[in-house]
Amino acid sequence: MRKRNLVLLVMAFLVLSIIGLSGCAKKEDEQTYSGTTIRVLVWADAHTEAVKALIPEFEEETGIKVVFEDLPSSNLTEKIAMNLVGKTGTYDLVAIDEPFMPKFAEYFVPYTEWSEPKVLDKKIDLDELVEAAVQGATWKDTVYGLPVNGNIYMMIYRKDLFENPTHQQAFKEKYGYDLKQPETLEQLLDVSEYFYQPENGLYGWGPFTLTSEGVTVETMWVLRSFGTRILSDDLQPVLDKEKAVQAFEYYKQLLNTSPAGKLAFGHPERIQAMNVGNLTIMLQWPGIIPDHENEEESMVAGKVGYMQNPAGPGGRAAITGVWALAIPKDAENKAAAAEFAYWWASKEAGEKLVKKGMSPVRKDLLTDPDLQKEYPWYQAQLENFEIGVNRPRFPEYSEISDVVRTYFANALSGEMTSEQAVNEMDQKIKEILEQNGYLK
């Protein structure tokens, strides 16, 4: 017994003297985290894969051990929900997709209450991030998480085709103006129709039609571009049916220029059709753009151009899709979790993460001239964030989204006329709002 005490004493002395010798205040702070383990649950893609690879650096810097789990988004949401409802306190930091934030917000610690970092210099100032992204993490004027992934549904097109003199000449002859990035929805339709050349294996518009959230986003974009929306900011139904019908009819025309299977186009179909060079123009999430620019899997790498979404009768619009990191109220290691989030959202980590396909939300990264050169879509991404709008933000969003995608699809497939689809959609939305007590 005595011997062991002696050993302990000597060891304690040694440890103390080492700390004393190093003497640096920062080192002392690190001690507060040693032995702390945080569990992080996020979505799975190239971005989070890159974060995972960088974790050892973070662990060394802070002494925090990170258990990092990633899941496809739908499963992720289920798992987060169960853990929150079961009050397990298992996870210290979780990622939430923008439209679900209102539903989950009350389980999270508001960003203003996140603790100051001990290792990093300071909290991430939300002004460093693009505004539309911060909006995506906001519910009832309170920010509930730190946005880290800035997706915005932006237009991409085949630059090489647009620059091809033969096409330029033929296009001008047919439409009477120069072939260039479409500035308006009319021009977008012209371009799509012009490049609809099935005999050459070429098609115009790349739609999103396979039943899923993507269809809702597509609908929201076209509605917004036509100057109407489904819900006002105070959650009242404000759909202008006339404009909505025009929007649906317009999209149907775009769809006429799409390849076979156009009524069942989801992400894999869209990525494939673009990568093999079938599509001319479409909306895409920046998170997927690295796939198009990757020579190993894309025949159009280096041939894709990026632009601000064209203006419709109601102006320009781009739909945001932001992932934010949030700390559950029942988390055990909130301070360490916040530290990890700050590190993830920092410029330094961001510079490494963009190389692996992160879509930045930091203004300094998006505007960095070197990065802009390397990632030609950053400028357009920034421009689209300027016209960025969120999907309706309220807890019952999923129900609205389901209605929107169903009736939009019905209109596109011809199962209903656009008028019918818009009327029934509007009716259903009002019912949902009424059931949940939003209707004034």
């Binding site: 990092f68 496809p72 079961g86 494939q272 899997e297």
Partner: protein, 278 residues
Amino acid sequence: MFGFKEWSVWKKVLFYLVVLAILVVELFPIYMVVSTSLKPKIKIWTSISPFESFKPTLTNYQNILFERSFLDYLKNSGIIAIVTTIISLGLGSLAAYGFARFKFRGSGTLSLGVLVSRMIPPITLSLPIFLLVSRMGLLDTYGALILAHTSFSLPYVIWLLIPFFKGVPGAFEEAAMLDGAGRLRVFISIFLPLVAPGLVVAAIFSFIMSWNDFLYALVLTSSTIKTAPVAVSGFMGQFGPDWGMMTAAGTIILLPVFLLALLLQKYIIQGLTFGGEK
């Protein structure tokens, strides 16, 4: 059945052609999975004919085995599936015997009740099971998944085996009982060998149900004992699947079960000869 050896050559040729045709049609999607797993990424997109030639690459396999620690997930899945199968088969064959050979009050209701757990969509049960396991402090343990999987494969095993037990002629049992053998002994030394084909099928299914389970693995476990199907669904990705890795993982997952099916077959044949002796 019988008579195959006496068939004429033409009949045999025809027979083999039919067998071959069935295999080709049925295995075509599997061929798609396996060939995709060997394709370079760009080929996956551009092959219009499924038989277009390509230079096979093992990149996808290297990726998942060495960079994504897929072997660990396979090990977890394997342990859980094996234990689940053993428990399900042990308890299930006892229960099936009980249901098949005794008439007791409530046996009908009980055997139906047992099946209810398989009738209810797992989506609905996943929340309460999660809550239960979490309160028992078993989240992210082998035990939790083994219990959950067993509870779903047990009803299956029981129901699958009932007709096999019922099919055994009563005379066997009576003769053995007259010899002074106890119930349990009759069960072990007489019934089990006779229902071997059923046991094999039940073993294959309870293994596969546990091996392929996604939802419960997703809900009840985290990083410590992540299973292979959860990892595969990770390759489904945020937007589109990583075809190469998904199919490579899908192929690797098939192998152990295929070998199991191949190995266990001889017991079905054994059952066959037993049946012949009846």
